[in-house]
Protein backbone atom coordinates (compact mmCIF):
# COMPACT_ATOMS: atom_id res chain seq x y z
CA UNK A 1 0.00 0.00 0.00
CA UNK A 2 2.68 2.46 0.95
CA UNK A 3 4.47 1.53 -2.22
CA UNK A 4 1.44 2.55 -4.19
CA UNK A 5 1.16 5.83 -2.41
CA UNK A 6 4.74 6.97 -2.40
CA UNK A 7 6.34 5.54 -5.44
CA UNK A 8 6.55 2.66 -7.78
CA UNK A 9 9.91 1.33 -6.83
CA UNK A 10 10.84 -2.33 -6.77
CA UNK A 11 12.56 -2.05 -3.43
CA UNK A 12 9.36 -0.95 -1.79
CA UNK A 13 7.46 -4.05 -2.81
CA UNK A 14 6.86 -6.68 -0.22
CA UNK A 15 8.10 -6.32 3.30
CA UNK A 16 9.54 -2.93 3.94
CA UNK A 17 12.95 -3.03 5.52
CA UNK A 18 15.08 -0.34 7.09
CA UNK A 19 17.65 -0.18 4.29
CA UNK A 20 15.21 0.92 1.58
CA UNK A 21 13.72 3.49 3.92
CA UNK A 22 17.18 4.81 4.60
CA UNK A 23 17.84 4.99 0.88
CA UNK A 24 14.62 6.92 0.40
CA UNK A 25 15.64 9.32 3.14
CA UNK A 26 19.04 9.77 1.59
CA UNK A 27 17.38 10.41 -1.75
CA UNK A 28 15.10 13.04 -0.26
CA UNK A 29 18.03 14.79 1.32
CA UNK A 30 20.08 14.48 -1.83
CA UNK A 31 17.35 15.89 -4.05
CA UNK A 32 16.88 18.79 -1.67
CA UNK A 33 20.58 19.60 -1.55
CA UNK A 34 21.09 19.07 -5.26
CA UNK A 35 18.14 21.34 -5.93
CA UNK A 36 19.52 24.09 -3.74
CA UNK A 37 23.04 23.90 -5.10
CA UNK A 38 21.80 23.69 -8.66
CA UNK A 39 19.72 26.80 -8.10
CA UNK A 40 22.66 28.63 -6.62
CA UNK A 41 24.80 27.75 -9.57
CA UNK A 42 21.96 28.59 -11.92
CA UNK A 43 21.79 32.14 -10.59
CA UNK A 44 25.53 32.50 -11.04
CA UNK A 45 25.39 30.85 -14.46
CA UNK A 46 22.65 33.21 -15.58
CA UNK A 47 24.49 36.29 -14.43
CA UNK A 48 27.73 35.17 -16.00
CA UNK A 49 26.23 34.10 -19.30
CA UNK A 50 24.08 37.18 -19.70
CA UNK A 51 27.12 39.29 -18.87
CA UNK A 52 28.99 37.51 -21.62
CA UNK A 53 26.20 38.18 -24.08
CA UNK A 54 26.34 41.85 -23.20
CA UNK A 55 30.11 42.26 -23.46
CA UNK A 56 30.52 42.44 -19.71
CA UNK A 57 32.48 40.47 -17.19
CA UNK A 58 29.85 39.51 -14.70
CA UNK A 59 30.36 38.83 -11.00
CA UNK A 60 33.99 38.10 -10.23
CA UNK A 61 34.65 39.41 -6.76
CA UNK A 62 32.83 36.89 -4.56
CA UNK A 63 34.89 33.75 -4.66
CA UNK A 64 36.71 32.44 -7.73
CA UNK A 65 34.95 33.68 -10.90
CA UNK A 66 32.30 35.09 -8.63
CA UNK A 67 30.90 31.65 -8.07
CA UNK A 68 29.93 32.48 -4.51
CA UNK A 69 27.88 35.48 -5.63
CA UNK A 70 24.59 33.77 -4.89
CA UNK A 71 25.82 32.76 -1.48
CA UNK A 72 26.72 36.35 -0.71
CA UNK A 73 23.28 37.47 -1.91
CA UNK A 74 21.64 34.86 0.25
CA UNK A 75 23.59 35.70 3.40
CA UNK A 76 23.06 39.38 2.87
CA UNK A 77 19.32 38.96 2.39
CA UNK A 78 19.09 36.73 5.42
CA UNK A 79 20.71 39.36 7.62
CA UNK A 80 18.55 42.18 6.35
CA UNK A 81 15.71 43.85 8.14
CA UNK A 82 12.34 42.40 7.34
CA UNK A 83 9.08 44.19 7.12
CA UNK A 84 5.43 43.38 6.88
CA UNK A 85 3.53 46.33 5.44
CA UNK A 86 0.81 47.72 7.63
CA UNK A 87 -1.92 47.28 5.08
CA UNK A 88 -0.93 43.75 4.25
CA UNK A 89 -2.77 40.60 5.12
CA UNK A 90 -0.22 39.35 7.59
CA UNK A 91 -0.91 35.63 7.49
CA UNK A 92 -1.01 35.40 3.71
CA UNK A 93 1.98 37.70 3.39
CA UNK A 94 4.01 35.29 5.49
CA UNK A 95 2.63 32.19 3.82
CA UNK A 96 3.10 33.23 0.19
CA UNK A 97 6.89 32.75 -0.17
CA UNK A 98 6.61 29.19 1.04
CA UNK A 99 3.74 28.50 -1.31
CA UNK A 100 6.04 29.62 -4.10
CA UNK A 101 9.05 27.63 -2.94
CA UNK A 102 7.54 24.28 -1.96
CA UNK A 103 6.07 23.39 -5.37
CA UNK A 104 9.41 24.21 -6.95
CA UNK A 105 11.03 21.53 -4.82
CA UNK A 106 8.15 19.07 -5.09
CA UNK A 107 8.26 19.02 -8.85
CA UNK A 108 11.88 17.93 -8.66
CA UNK A 109 10.80 14.68 -6.99
CA UNK A 110 9.54 13.05 -10.17
CA UNK A 111 12.49 13.85 -12.41
CA UNK A 112 14.67 10.82 -13.17
CA UNK A 113 18.06 12.08 -12.07
CA UNK A 114 20.19 9.38 -13.55
CA UNK A 115 20.46 5.68 -13.95
CA UNK A 116 22.06 2.98 -15.98
CA UNK A 117 20.42 2.60 -19.34
CA UNK A 118 22.86 0.14 -20.89
CA UNK A 119 22.30 -3.56 -21.48
CA UNK A 120 18.56 -3.22 -21.02
CA UNK A 121 18.77 -2.25 -17.39
CA UNK A 122 16.14 0.40 -18.00
CA UNK A 123 17.51 2.91 -15.57
CA UNK A 124 17.69 0.66 -12.55
CA UNK A 125 20.81 0.84 -10.43
CA UNK A 126 21.85 -1.25 -7.48
CA UNK A 127 22.39 0.57 -4.23
CA UNK A 128 23.43 -1.41 -1.12
CA UNK A 129 22.10 -4.53 -2.72
CA UNK A 130 18.76 -2.93 -3.54
CA UNK A 131 17.55 -2.26 -7.04
CA UNK A 132 16.24 1.24 -7.33
CA UNK A 133 15.81 4.18 -9.62
CA UNK A 134 17.73 7.40 -9.21
CA UNK A 135 14.51 9.23 -8.73
CA UNK A 136 12.81 10.34 -5.56
CA UNK A 137 9.35 9.18 -6.52
CA UNK A 138 7.72 7.74 -9.57
CA UNK A 139 4.00 8.04 -9.00
CA UNK A 140 1.80 6.33 -11.60
CA UNK A 141 0.49 9.70 -12.70
CA UNK A 142 3.98 11.21 -12.81
CA UNK A 143 3.53 13.77 -15.56
CA UNK A 144 0.14 14.83 -14.28
CA UNK A 145 1.80 15.38 -10.92
CA UNK A 146 4.19 17.82 -12.54
CA UNK A 147 1.28 19.58 -14.21
CA UNK A 148 -0.60 19.79 -10.92
CA UNK A 149 2.41 21.14 -9.11
CA UNK A 150 3.08 23.76 -11.73
CA UNK A 151 -0.56 24.82 -11.55
CA UNK A 152 -0.46 25.37 -7.81
CA UNK A 153 2.85 27.21 -8.00
CA UNK A 154 0.92 30.31 -9.03
CA UNK A 155 -0.67 30.57 -5.59
CA UNK A 156 2.53 31.90 -4.11
CA UNK A 157 2.68 34.73 -6.64
CA UNK A 158 -1.03 35.53 -6.51
CA UNK A 159 -1.20 35.66 -2.76
CA UNK A 160 2.03 37.60 -2.47
CA UNK A 161 0.66 40.26 -4.78
CA UNK A 162 -2.74 40.36 -3.15
CA UNK A 163 -1.58 40.32 0.45
CA UNK A 164 0.89 43.18 0.00
CA UNK A 165 -2.02 45.57 0.06
CA UNK A 166 -0.78 47.98 -2.56
CA UNK A 167 -1.59 48.49 -6.18
CA UNK A 168 1.40 47.43 -8.23
CA UNK A 169 1.67 44.03 -6.57
CA UNK A 170 -2.05 43.54 -7.04
CA UNK A 171 -1.74 44.23 -10.75
CA UNK A 172 1.07 41.70 -10.83
CA UNK A 173 -1.10 39.14 -9.07
CA UNK A 174 -4.01 39.58 -11.46
CA UNK A 175 -1.65 39.25 -14.40
CA UNK A 176 -0.13 36.12 -12.88
CA UNK A 177 -3.42 34.32 -12.48
CA UNK A 178 -4.67 35.13 -15.96
CA UNK A 179 -1.35 34.13 -17.48
CA UNK A 180 -1.23 30.85 -15.58
CA UNK A 181 -4.75 29.81 -16.55
CA UNK A 182 -4.08 30.67 -20.20
CA UNK A 183 -0.88 28.74 -20.57
CA UNK A 184 -1.73 25.73 -18.44
CA UNK A 185 -4.03 24.51 -21.20
CA UNK A 186 -1.39 24.72 -23.92
CA UNK A 187 1.10 23.06 -21.60
CA UNK A 188 -1.30 20.19 -20.90
CA UNK A 189 -2.24 19.70 -24.53
CA UNK A 190 1.33 19.56 -25.77
CA UNK A 191 2.01 17.14 -22.94
CA UNK A 192 -0.86 15.07 -24.32
CA UNK A 193 1.11 14.49 -27.49
CA UNK A 194 3.98 13.04 -25.46
CA UNK A 195 1.63 10.80 -23.52
CA UNK A 196 0.06 9.61 -26.74
CA UNK A 197 3.41 8.54 -28.12
CA UNK A 198 4.79 7.10 -24.90
CA UNK A 199 1.64 5.40 -23.76
CA UNK A 200 2.49 5.96 -20.11
CA UNK A 201 2.23 8.71 -17.54
CA UNK A 202 5.21 7.68 -15.45
CA UNK A 203 8.33 9.76 -16.01
CA UNK A 204 10.54 6.73 -15.69
CA UNK A 205 8.43 5.02 -18.32
CA UNK A 206 8.65 8.02 -20.63
CA UNK A 207 12.43 8.07 -20.29
CA UNK A 208 12.69 4.36 -20.96
CA UNK A 209 10.75 4.74 -24.18
CA UNK A 210 13.34 7.12 -25.60
CA UNK A 211 16.25 4.81 -26.06
CA UNK A 212 17.79 6.39 -29.16
CA UNK A 213 17.59 9.76 -30.85
CA UNK A 214 15.01 8.44 -33.28
CA UNK A 215 12.80 7.55 -30.35
CA UNK A 216 13.23 10.80 -28.54
CA UNK A 217 9.86 12.36 -28.15
CA UNK A 218 10.96 15.53 -29.87
CA UNK A 219 11.25 13.43 -33.04
CA UNK A 220 8.45 11.02 -32.28
CA UNK A 221 5.90 13.77 -31.62
CA UNK A 222 7.11 15.86 -34.49
CA UNK A 223 8.80 18.89 -32.96
CA UNK A 224 5.69 21.07 -32.73
CA UNK A 225 4.61 19.91 -29.25
CA UNK A 226 8.15 20.59 -28.05
CA UNK A 227 8.07 24.17 -29.31
CA UNK A 228 4.67 24.77 -27.76
CA UNK A 229 5.75 23.18 -24.52
CA UNK A 230 8.89 25.30 -24.41
CA UNK A 231 6.93 28.52 -24.96
CA UNK A 232 4.19 27.59 -22.51
CA UNK A 233 6.76 26.51 -19.94
CA UNK A 234 8.55 29.84 -20.26
CA UNK A 235 5.24 31.53 -19.62
CA UNK A 236 4.54 29.31 -16.64
CA UNK A 237 7.93 30.21 -15.23
CA UNK A 238 7.25 33.93 -15.66
CA UNK A 239 10.59 34.31 -17.32
CA UNK A 240 11.27 36.82 -20.08
CA UNK A 241 9.65 37.49 -22.49
CA UNK A 242 6.69 36.50 -20.34
CA UNK A 243 7.77 38.22 -17.13
CA UNK A 244 4.80 40.53 -16.99
CA UNK A 245 4.22 39.50 -13.44
CA UNK A 246 7.36 41.27 -12.31
CA UNK A 247 7.86 43.66 -15.23
CA UNK A 248 10.23 46.00 -13.51
CA UNK A 249 9.62 48.78 -16.04
CA UNK A 250 5.88 48.68 -15.60
CA UNK A 251 5.08 47.40 -12.16
CA UNK A 252 8.27 48.26 -10.27
CA UNK A 253 8.77 44.75 -8.94
CA UNK A 254 5.34 43.30 -9.53
CA UNK A 255 4.18 40.85 -6.93
CA UNK A 256 7.37 41.03 -4.88
CA UNK A 257 7.54 44.83 -4.60
CA UNK A 258 6.81 44.85 -0.90
CA UNK A 259 8.97 41.88 0.01
CA UNK A 260 12.37 42.24 1.51
CA UNK A 261 14.94 40.16 3.31
CA UNK A 262 14.64 36.39 3.43
CA UNK A 263 11.09 36.31 2.11
CA UNK A 264 12.25 37.96 -1.06
CA UNK A 265 15.14 35.51 -1.18
CA UNK A 266 12.63 32.67 -1.14
CA UNK A 267 10.83 34.08 -4.18
CA UNK A 268 14.15 34.56 -5.90
CA UNK A 269 15.10 30.98 -5.10
CA UNK A 270 11.74 29.63 -6.22
CA UNK A 271 11.97 31.40 -9.54
CA UNK A 272 15.35 29.93 -10.40
CA UNK A 273 14.50 26.56 -8.89
CA UNK A 274 11.46 26.43 -11.15
CA UNK A 275 13.67 27.17 -14.12
CA UNK A 276 15.92 24.27 -13.29
CA UNK A 277 12.98 21.96 -12.69
CA UNK A 278 11.24 22.95 -15.88
CA UNK A 279 14.41 22.44 -17.92
CA UNK A 280 14.78 19.00 -16.38
CA UNK A 281 11.15 18.25 -17.18
CA UNK A 282 11.60 19.28 -20.80
CA UNK A 283 14.65 17.07 -21.06
CA UNK A 284 12.74 14.20 -19.46
CA UNK A 285 9.75 14.55 -21.73
CA UNK A 286 11.40 15.28 -25.05
CA UNK A 287 15.09 14.49 -24.90
CA UNK A 288 15.34 11.16 -23.18
CA UNK A 289 16.26 12.47 -19.75
CA UNK A 290 19.35 10.69 -18.46
CA UNK A 291 19.50 8.40 -21.48
CA UNK A 292 22.85 8.59 -23.23
CA UNK A 293 22.80 9.84 -26.79
CA UNK A 294 22.59 6.93 -29.16
CA UNK A 295 22.04 6.78 -32.88
CA UNK A 296 20.93 3.47 -34.19
CA UNK A 297 23.00 0.86 -32.39
CA UNK A 298 25.94 3.07 -31.44
CA UNK A 299 25.71 4.67 -28.05
CA UNK A 300 28.02 7.45 -26.99
CA UNK A 301 30.02 6.62 -23.92
CA UNK A 302 31.71 9.04 -21.60
CA UNK A 303 35.07 7.51 -20.74
CA UNK A 304 36.24 6.95 -17.17
CA UNK A 305 32.77 7.39 -15.72
CA UNK A 306 30.89 4.36 -14.41
CA UNK A 307 27.68 3.65 -16.22
CA UNK A 308 25.60 4.21 -13.11
CA UNK A 309 26.71 7.82 -12.88
CA UNK A 310 26.79 8.49 -16.59
CA UNK A 311 23.05 9.02 -16.74
CA UNK A 312 23.36 11.89 -14.32
CA UNK A 313 26.06 13.46 -16.44
CA UNK A 314 23.95 13.24 -19.56
CA UNK A 315 21.00 14.76 -17.74
CA UNK A 316 23.18 17.59 -16.49
CA UNK A 317 24.49 18.33 -19.96
CA UNK A 318 21.04 18.34 -21.49
CA UNK A 319 19.59 20.51 -18.73
CA UNK A 320 22.45 22.94 -19.14
CA UNK A 321 21.44 23.44 -22.77
CA UNK A 322 17.98 24.52 -21.72
CA UNK A 323 19.21 26.72 -18.94
CA UNK A 324 21.33 28.43 -21.54
CA UNK A 325 18.32 28.82 -23.80
CA UNK A 326 16.36 30.47 -20.99
CA UNK A 327 19.19 32.91 -20.36
CA UNK A 328 19.31 33.55 -24.07
CA UNK A 329 15.62 34.40 -24.09
CA UNK A 330 16.17 36.85 -21.29
CA UNK A 331 19.02 38.54 -23.09
CA UNK A 332 17.34 38.98 -26.45
CA UNK A 333 13.58 39.17 -26.35
CA UNK A 334 11.51 42.21 -25.46
CA UNK A 335 8.61 41.69 -23.11
CA UNK A 336 5.14 40.84 -24.33
CA UNK A 337 2.23 43.07 -23.63
CA UNK A 338 -0.66 41.66 -21.65
CA UNK A 339 -3.10 41.32 -24.55
CA UNK A 340 -0.43 39.94 -26.87
CA UNK A 341 0.35 37.33 -24.27
CA UNK A 342 -3.29 36.31 -24.19
CA UNK A 343 -3.50 36.29 -27.98
CA UNK A 344 -0.46 34.07 -28.27
CA UNK A 345 -1.79 31.68 -25.65
CA UNK A 346 -5.38 31.41 -26.78
CA UNK A 347 -5.22 31.99 -30.51
CA UNK A 348 -1.99 30.25 -31.46
CA UNK A 349 -0.68 27.88 -28.84
CA UNK A 350 -3.92 26.23 -27.74
CA UNK A 351 -5.34 25.66 -31.24
CA UNK A 352 -1.89 24.61 -32.42
CA UNK A 353 -1.32 22.07 -29.72
CA UNK A 354 -4.88 20.78 -29.99
CA UNK A 355 -4.56 20.39 -33.74
CA UNK A 356 -1.25 18.60 -33.51
CA UNK A 357 -2.60 16.32 -30.82
CA UNK A 358 -5.51 15.39 -33.07
CA UNK A 359 -3.18 14.77 -35.99
CA UNK A 360 -1.09 12.39 -33.89
CA UNK A 361 -4.22 10.70 -32.56
CA UNK A 362 -5.61 10.25 -36.07
CA UNK A 363 -2.34 8.70 -37.22
CA UNK A 364 -2.45 6.33 -34.30
CA UNK A 365 -6.03 5.30 -35.02
CA UNK A 366 -5.11 4.88 -38.64
CA UNK A 367 -2.17 2.68 -37.76
CA UNK A 368 -4.28 0.52 -35.47
CA UNK A 369 -6.98 0.19 -38.10
CA UNK A 370 -4.47 -0.49 -40.83
CA UNK A 371 -5.31 2.53 -42.99
CA UNK A 372 -2.88 4.21 -45.30
CA UNK A 373 -0.79 6.53 -43.12
CA UNK A 374 -0.23 9.15 -45.80
CA UNK A 375 -3.90 9.45 -46.63
CA UNK A 376 -4.85 9.68 -42.97
CA UNK A 377 -2.28 12.40 -42.38
CA UNK A 378 -3.34 14.36 -45.42
CA UNK A 379 -7.03 14.17 -44.64
CA UNK A 380 -6.50 15.16 -41.00
CA UNK A 381 -4.21 17.99 -41.99
CA UNK A 382 -6.82 19.25 -44.45
CA UNK A 383 -9.53 19.11 -41.81
CA UNK A 384 -7.31 20.94 -39.33
CA UNK A 385 -6.37 23.58 -41.86
CA UNK A 386 -10.04 24.07 -42.61
CA UNK A 387 -10.75 24.40 -38.91
CA UNK A 388 -7.96 26.90 -38.50
CA UNK A 389 -9.32 28.86 -41.43
CA UNK A 390 -12.70 28.99 -39.70
CA UNK A 391 -10.99 30.17 -36.54
CA UNK A 392 -9.22 32.93 -38.44
CA UNK A 393 -12.48 33.96 -40.07
CA UNK A 394 -14.18 34.05 -36.69
CA UNK A 395 -11.39 36.21 -35.32
CA UNK A 396 -11.71 38.54 -38.25
CA UNK A 397 -15.47 38.87 -37.80
CA UNK A 398 -15.01 39.47 -34.10
CA UNK A 399 -12.42 42.16 -34.72
CA UNK A 400 -14.66 43.89 -37.23
CA UNK A 401 -17.58 43.75 -34.81
CA UNK A 402 -15.46 45.03 -32.01
CA UNK A 403 -14.28 47.96 -34.04
CA UNK A 404 -17.83 48.64 -35.15
CA UNK A 405 -19.38 48.95 -31.73
CA UNK A 406 -16.18 49.78 -29.94
CA UNK A 407 -16.35 47.04 -27.36
CA UNK A 408 -13.29 46.67 -25.25
CA UNK A 409 -12.52 43.39 -23.59
Amino acid sequence: MIGAILAIDPMLEGNVLWTPLLIVLVKVLLVFVVGLVATMLMVWFERKVIAGMQNRVGPNKAGPWGILQTLADGIKLFFKEDLIPERSDRFMFRLAPYLALVPAFLAFAIIPLGGDFRDGKGGLVTLFGQQTRLQLADPPVGVLFALAISSIAVYGIMLAGWSSGSKYPLLGAVRASAQMVSYEAALGLSLGAVLLVSGTLSTAGIVNMQSSIGNWNIVATGFVPFVIFLIAATAELNRPPFDLVEAEQELVGGFNTEYSSIRFALFFLAEFMNTVTMSALIVTLFFGGPQPISIGNTTLDIPFIPNAIEGTVWLLLKVLVFLYIYVWFRATLPRFRYDQLMDLGWKILIPGSLGWFMLLAAQRVGRDAGWDQIVVTLVTALVLIGGYGLLLAAQHVSRVNREKDGASF
Binding site: M1, N15, V16, W18, L21
Partner: protein, 108 residues
Protein backbone atom coordinates in the same frame (compact mmCIF):
# COMPACT_ATOMS: atom_id res chain seq x y z
CA UNK B 1 7.36 -0.38 11.28
CA UNK B 2 5.18 -3.41 10.87
CA UNK B 3 3.41 -2.29 14.00
CA UNK B 4 2.01 0.65 12.16
CA UNK B 5 0.50 -1.51 9.47
CA UNK B 6 -1.27 -3.70 11.96
CA UNK B 7 -3.25 -0.81 13.37
CA UNK B 8 -6.91 -0.43 12.56
CA UNK B 9 -7.48 0.15 8.86
CA UNK B 10 -10.10 2.79 8.15
CA UNK B 11 -12.99 1.18 6.35
CA UNK B 12 -14.99 2.94 3.70
CA UNK B 13 -17.66 3.69 6.31
CA UNK B 14 -15.22 6.18 7.83
CA UNK B 15 -14.92 7.96 4.53
CA UNK B 16 -18.66 7.98 4.03
CA UNK B 17 -19.24 9.51 7.45
CA UNK B 18 -16.60 12.10 6.71
CA UNK B 19 -18.26 12.95 3.42
CA UNK B 20 -21.64 13.29 5.19
CA UNK B 21 -20.12 15.75 7.65
CA UNK B 22 -18.47 17.67 4.84
CA UNK B 23 -21.77 17.83 3.00
CA UNK B 24 -23.47 19.16 6.15
CA UNK B 25 -20.85 21.90 6.53
CA UNK B 26 -21.31 22.86 2.93
CA UNK B 27 -25.07 23.07 3.36
CA UNK B 28 -24.76 25.30 6.40
CA UNK B 29 -22.34 27.51 4.53
CA UNK B 30 -24.68 28.00 1.58
CA UNK B 31 -27.46 28.95 3.92
CA UNK B 32 -25.51 31.22 6.23
CA UNK B 33 -23.09 33.14 4.01
CA UNK B 34 -24.23 36.08 1.95
CA UNK B 35 -21.25 36.54 -0.34
CA UNK B 36 -22.09 34.72 -3.57
CA UNK B 37 -18.45 33.76 -4.09
CA UNK B 38 -18.30 32.02 -0.75
CA UNK B 39 -21.66 30.39 -1.36
CA UNK B 40 -20.13 29.05 -4.53
CA UNK B 41 -17.21 27.66 -2.59
CA UNK B 42 -19.63 25.94 -0.21
CA UNK B 43 -21.34 24.31 -3.17
CA UNK B 44 -17.91 23.07 -4.23
CA UNK B 45 -17.54 21.59 -0.75
CA UNK B 46 -20.78 19.69 -1.19
CA UNK B 47 -19.70 18.42 -4.59
CA UNK B 48 -16.45 17.24 -3.11
CA UNK B 49 -18.28 15.42 -0.34
CA UNK B 50 -20.25 13.57 -2.95
CA UNK B 51 -17.09 12.81 -4.92
CA UNK B 52 -15.45 11.38 -1.85
CA UNK B 53 -18.36 9.09 -1.17
CA UNK B 54 -18.37 7.93 -4.79
CA UNK B 55 -14.72 6.99 -4.67
CA UNK B 56 -15.05 5.31 -1.30
CA UNK B 57 -18.04 3.27 -2.45
CA UNK B 58 -16.33 2.51 -5.73
CA UNK B 59 -13.51 0.79 -3.93
CA UNK B 60 -15.87 -0.92 -1.47
CA UNK B 61 -18.13 -2.47 -4.04
CA UNK B 62 -15.22 -2.99 -6.44
CA UNK B 63 -16.77 -1.13 -9.31
CA UNK B 64 -14.91 1.48 -11.35
CA UNK B 65 -18.13 3.31 -12.27
CA UNK B 66 -17.91 5.40 -9.12
CA UNK B 67 -14.67 6.91 -10.30
CA UNK B 68 -16.12 7.54 -13.73
CA UNK B 69 -18.92 9.55 -12.15
CA UNK B 70 -16.40 11.57 -10.16
CA UNK B 71 -14.61 12.37 -13.39
CA UNK B 72 -17.80 13.72 -14.89
CA UNK B 73 -18.61 15.65 -11.74
CA UNK B 74 -15.24 17.41 -12.00
CA UNK B 75 -15.96 18.47 -15.55
CA UNK B 76 -19.45 19.69 -14.70
CA UNK B 77 -18.10 21.56 -11.68
CA UNK B 78 -15.65 23.38 -13.93
CA UNK B 79 -18.45 24.39 -16.29
CA UNK B 80 -20.63 25.48 -13.40
CA UNK B 81 -17.91 27.66 -11.92
CA UNK B 82 -17.20 29.30 -15.25
CA UNK B 83 -20.84 30.24 -15.73
CA UNK B 84 -21.36 31.21 -12.11
CA UNK B 85 -18.36 33.48 -11.96
CA UNK B 86 -19.39 35.04 -15.24
CA UNK B 87 -22.77 35.89 -13.74
CA UNK B 88 -21.15 37.34 -10.63
CA UNK B 89 -18.78 39.47 -12.68
CA UNK B 90 -21.55 40.87 -14.81
CA UNK B 91 -23.67 41.61 -11.73
CA UNK B 92 -20.75 43.33 -10.08
CA UNK B 93 -20.37 45.58 -13.11
CA UNK B 94 -23.67 47.19 -12.17
CA UNK B 95 -23.59 47.07 -8.40
CA UNK B 96 -20.99 48.00 -5.89
CA UNK B 97 -21.81 45.70 -2.99
CA UNK B 98 -21.53 42.00 -3.21
CA UNK B 99 -24.12 40.30 -1.06
CA UNK B 100 -26.93 38.12 -2.27
CA UNK B 101 -29.42 40.17 -0.27
CA UNK B 102 -29.05 42.98 -2.76
CA UNK B 103 -29.63 40.80 -5.77
CA UNK B 104 -33.34 40.35 -5.63
CA UNK B 105 -34.28 41.75 -9.03
CA UNK B 106 -33.87 39.72 -12.17
CA UNK B 107 -32.67 42.59 -14.31
CA UNK B 108 -29.59 44.51 -13.43
Amino acid sequence: MSLMFSLAEPTSTWYLVLSAVLFGIGTIGVMVRRNPLIMFMCIELMLNAVNLSFVALSSQIANIDGQVVVFFVLVVAAAEVVVGLGIIVSIMRRRTTLTVDDMSGLKG
